[in-house]
Amino acid sequence: MAKTYGVGIMGAGNISAAYLRLAPLFKGLEVRAVADILPAAAQKRAEEFGVAAQTPDELLKNSELDVIVNLTIPATHYSVSKDIVSAGKHAYSEKPFVLTLEEGMALKKAADERNLKVGSAPDTFWAAPTSKPAISSIAASSARS
């Protein structure tokens, strides 16, 4: 039996509901907690989806979590993902995962040093445009270009 990764959600805004609602479809992971700088927002989502409500600091230190999904605002994506990696956890961020190339390089260095993964949305278009018919159509046209 493969390991189940504990997942925390940082940021209880609009898009967190989609992640919390759809995460149970996926194997290999379990959302266990949600945090927000606004405790009431975290509490609301936590009650809605039956997970724990925590402060951002508690989430980072939560030993039951291997991955934290960063759903904060773009201006804080970098600093929060850096904190996640510094806390020894894998980070997955909503887009854009950083706002400058320098931030991205720094995050890569920090993640590589700890052998951790950093991932970023979007994942939305994987079903249709990467479909086999699309790829063969493009291959057919680019082969003749």
């Binding site: 201006a75 854009p96 190339l101 991205g104 979007p122 079903a127 249709a128 046209s141």
Partner: protein, 235 residues
């Protein structure tokens, strides 16, 4: 091979209760929606080699009309709200990108690709699923027969005219599977870093008028086959 990607509309202040961050540095249509419209072409065509762009903003102040705490207040615009750029890919493809929050309506498809065999209209990259339409040189359109992709199956808005497929968390699931699976995650850091390089370079090119050769690159990410997608889902 060439093409266009367009993400243009009237803006965010009409629907988002707290839209101010969209109009500050780090927001703007190119950083907000551009990730979809650059990442999708990178998945289809591979990495970008160089680019140029021109930018402007239609208004320096935007009034929030969405219901919520900001309603009636004005947001100062501090980043371009219209960006028109040209991307040259390593494979030779040239793609025009248009991103704007200053557009009432337009007639472009989300993403159009033009090859010597015909054209491809790629569906909205902000949603799972959608029709893939191709045309031949006679201009005859055909919709590629939808395959039974697990992430293309409608599971949202089933009571509304347009059914949506939504499988957010696919990204984290793929990243987690890649840890023990020994493959490069489709949403991995190198792709994301290259896309941010493209997006910020478009803004920089708009400021300086320069053609910018990108300092980053990435492997074209793996396609997600139906079997790959099914493997991420519970039975």
């Amino acid at each position: 091979m060439s093409g266009t990607t367009h993400v243009m509309g009237p803006g965010m202040e009409h629907w988002h209760p707290n839209p101010d961050f969209f109009f500050k540095p780090g927001g703007g249509p190119i950083l907000d929606m551009g990730p979809y419209y650059v990442t999708n072409p990178v998945h289809l065509l591979g990495p970008v080699k160089r680019l140029s762009a021109f930018t402007n903003m239609a208004r320096t102040d935007r009034e929030v009309t969405a219901e919520g705490p900001m309603k009636g207040k004005t947001v100062k615009v501090e980043t371009p709200t219209t960006i028109h750029g040209i991307l040259e890919f390593h494979n030779g493809a040239v793609i025009t990108i248009g991103a704007s929050w200053d557009v009432a309506s337009h007639g472009h498809h989300n993403i159009e690709l033009y090859g010597t065999g015909g054209s491809i209209f790629v569906p909205d990259p902000n949603f799972f699923g959608g029709d893939l339409v191709t045309t031949n040189w006679a201009g005859e359109k055909s919709t590629v027969t939808p395959w039974d992709h697990p992430f293309g199956r409608a599971n949202q808005d089933l009571d509304k005219p347009v059914h949506r497929a939504n499988y957010r968390t696919a990204g984290p699931a793929d990243m987690i599977a890649s840890i023990d699976g020994g493959y490069t995650a489709r949403c991995g850091l190198d792709v994301a870093l290259h896309v941010v390089d493209v997006l910020t370079s478009l803004l920089q090119a708009g400021e300086t008028g320069q053609v910018i050769t990108l300092s980053t690159t990435c492997e074209r990410p793996l396609a997600l086959t139906p079997a790959d997608a099914q493997a991420l889902l519970k039975a």
